[in-house]
């Protein structure tokens, strides 16, 4: 027999695996009637909802909405409205649909601008951000001291070589 030809010798019923013994609750939801979600998409839902549509939340801050929907939703979040330069980029991004890669790239760009704005805002409010602490430095020192020292030595070595090469080039010039 050609060994490269796959021949099914196992009866289908023998291919059904048996679970290891002692599994608490095995097959408790095997019967679809016992599952919470059969039919998977149930209309109407089991919830008792007191409205046909929720009433409109008052708009108290600037809310950007997708071009793929007709307007703002009845309910929305009001955290951190768009502001400053990052806000301008976000507003521009929302002119593009979710189908357009430019929208998402602009939003990621706005996020990076926003990080710089956050640092400037901290300083303007007399707060120097403790980057070491914000990045979980104390936990790194406590749980991964060797790894931290190794990474610090690699960074120091790269910085040292770069400094040396720059000095050499200046001397040549």
């Amino acid at each position: 027999m050609d060994p490269t030809v796959y021949t099914e010798n196992t009866r289908p019923e023998d291919r059904v695996k048996q679970p290891p013994p002692g599994i608490e609750g095995w097959g408790a939801d095997l019967d679809p009637q016992n599952r919470p979600a059969v039919p998977m998409e149930r209309t109407p839902p089991r919830l008792d909802v007191p409205w046909d549509a929720p009433e409109q939340q008052p708009i108290t801050v600037e809310i950007l909405h997708s071009t793929e929907r007709p307007g703002i939703t009845p309910v929305f979040g009001t955290s951190t409205p768009p502001s400053a330069v990052s806000g301008m980029v976000r507003r521009a991004a929302f002119h593009y649909s979710e189908n357009d890669l430019r929208r998402w790239l602009m939003l990621l760009f706005a996020d990076r601008i926003n990080v710089v704005e956050g640092i400037l805002d901290d300083i303007a409010h007399g707060h120097i951000p403790n980057i070491w602490k914000e990045m979980g430095g104390p936990a790194e020192w406590r749980y991964n001291r060797q790894g931290f020292i190794r990474k610090a030595m690699i960074v120091a070595a790269i910085a040292g070589v770069a400094t040396y090469l720059i000095q050499q080039r200046r001397r040549r010039d």
Binding site: L64, V75, S79
Partner: protein, 384 residues
């Protein structure tokens, strides 16, 4: 109040913010008693989710005490101890009518491609989340569930996301009795999916990861087989060998956009952002499942696109199922499972960290330090 605030990629801190107020007649204000960091929060923490704004508070897994309710709220009252599903949903729109509560059309103005989620960027609605002392809970008559007296608060907080998500991952696999189920990812959701696969009648459950301590945990806790992909030359080939050269009946992607295991995927997806994250686990799932099998995706990916072998999906005749978990739909049955002792989700909690130490908590979870599987954050008022 004290709240986690995002400052930039890999930078968070506990800050004092203004307490939330009632903004809609059906809002409630909840004083948080338990909150967790989710694996999907790490995508925000790493700066991968577009429109994640500095100053936002993350956190979509929380329980709390109702402190105040809006004028139209009828089903909750001050003092109720509630668990709050991570989805914010109206219960009445086209999608909620089909119990797709994770796809509600009335709560996220920013995007139609994703529903509204607490503390998950403006792409998911711009709501502050529960990693704080207080949180605004919109549509309080629909989302929150009062915690039954016999449910431990630690189990309750894991009913807000990871247990329903793991369960739905298995459910979407349409597992038939005796099926072989392979789960990629031994994080909290993958662990819950492994347990759920047994409940749904699987005959064999295999979990794949590269972190030995998590694989050991899931082997002992969910009684499954494990594969460390660092020990494997080729994942699809290995799974075929384990399954009589057929492939698994069901493969579950419980990893998402920051998968390890493939340098090219990691470079292009995570570092260079040329695709919406590293889709290594999904790639493996498609190539490891048998022809005619099902791939279930609960790992989170970005909104643009990913490199996956879609031709193999076609040629193998696969069924792809995916969604954010519709938490509220699953709660009645999952509460029964906990009450019956079939599953104890809080066993995955490895760390209890004060909210004040939020930056350390994120770093420990993100970098997998101290054998961390699931950290719970405790606000000051919850520790008194």
């Amino acid at each position: 109040m004290l709240a986690m605030t995002y400052r930039g990629p890999y930078r968070v801190r506990a800050s004092h913010k203004q307490e939330p107020v009632i903004e809609h007649p059906n809002d409630a204000i909840v004083r948080v008693t338990r909150t967790c960091i989710c694996g999907s929060d790490l995508h925000l923490y790493h700066g991968l989710v577009p429109d994640t704004r500095v100053g936002m508070t993350f956190g979509h897994e929380f329980t709390g005490i109702v402190e105040e309710v809006g004028s139209s709220v009828t089903k909750l009252k001050k003092g109720d101890h509630v668990l709050v599903p991570f989805n914010i949903f109206c219960g009445s729109c086209f999608f909620c009518q089909k119990e797709l509560f994770g796809n509600c059309h009335n709560t996220n103005p920013s995007a139609t491609a994703v529903g509204a989620i607490y503390g998950y960027s403006h792409t998911a609605g711009g709501y502050d989340g529960g990693q704080a002392e207080y949180v605004r809970v919109p549509l309080a008559d629909v989302g929150p569930t009062i915690i039954p007296d016999d449910i431990d608060p630690d189990d309750a907080v894991l009913l807000t996301d990871i247990l329903p998500t793991g369960y739905q991952a298995a459910e979407m696999g349409d597992i038939q009795e005796g099926d072989t189920v392979v789960i990629f990812g031994a994080g909290p959701v993958g662990i819950m999916a492994a347990k759920s696969a047994w409940l749904l009648g699987a005959g064999r459950v295999i979990v794949v990861d590269h972190l030995e301590y998590r694989l050991e945990f899931v082997r002992n806790w969910a009684n499954c087989e494990i594969v460390n992909f660092k020990d494997v030359q080729d994942m699809a080939e290995h799974i075929k060998k384990m399954t009589d050269w057929l492939g698994a009946d069901v493969c579950i992607d419980a990893v998402g956009a920051e998968a390890a295991g493939n340098a090219l995927q990691h470079l292009s997806g995570v570092k260079l952002k040329l695709q919406a994250g590293a889709s290594t686990a999904l790639h493996w799932a498609i190539n490891s499942v048998r022809k005619g099998g099902t791939v279930s995706i609960v790992g989170v990916y970005g909104p643009t696109g990913n490199m996956v072998p879609i031709g193999n999906v076609v040629n193998k005749g696969l069924t792809i199922r995916a969604n954010q978990a519709s938490v509220k739909r699953h709660l009645p049955r999952l509460i029964e499972h906990i009450q019956a002792g079939r599953i104890k989700p809080s066993d995955v909690i490895t760390h209890r960290i004060p909210l004040e130490d939020i930056a350390d908590a994120y770093h420990i979870f993100s970098s997998k330090l101290d054998n961390c599987i699931k950290p719970v954050l405790l606000p000051p008022s919850a520790r008194q």
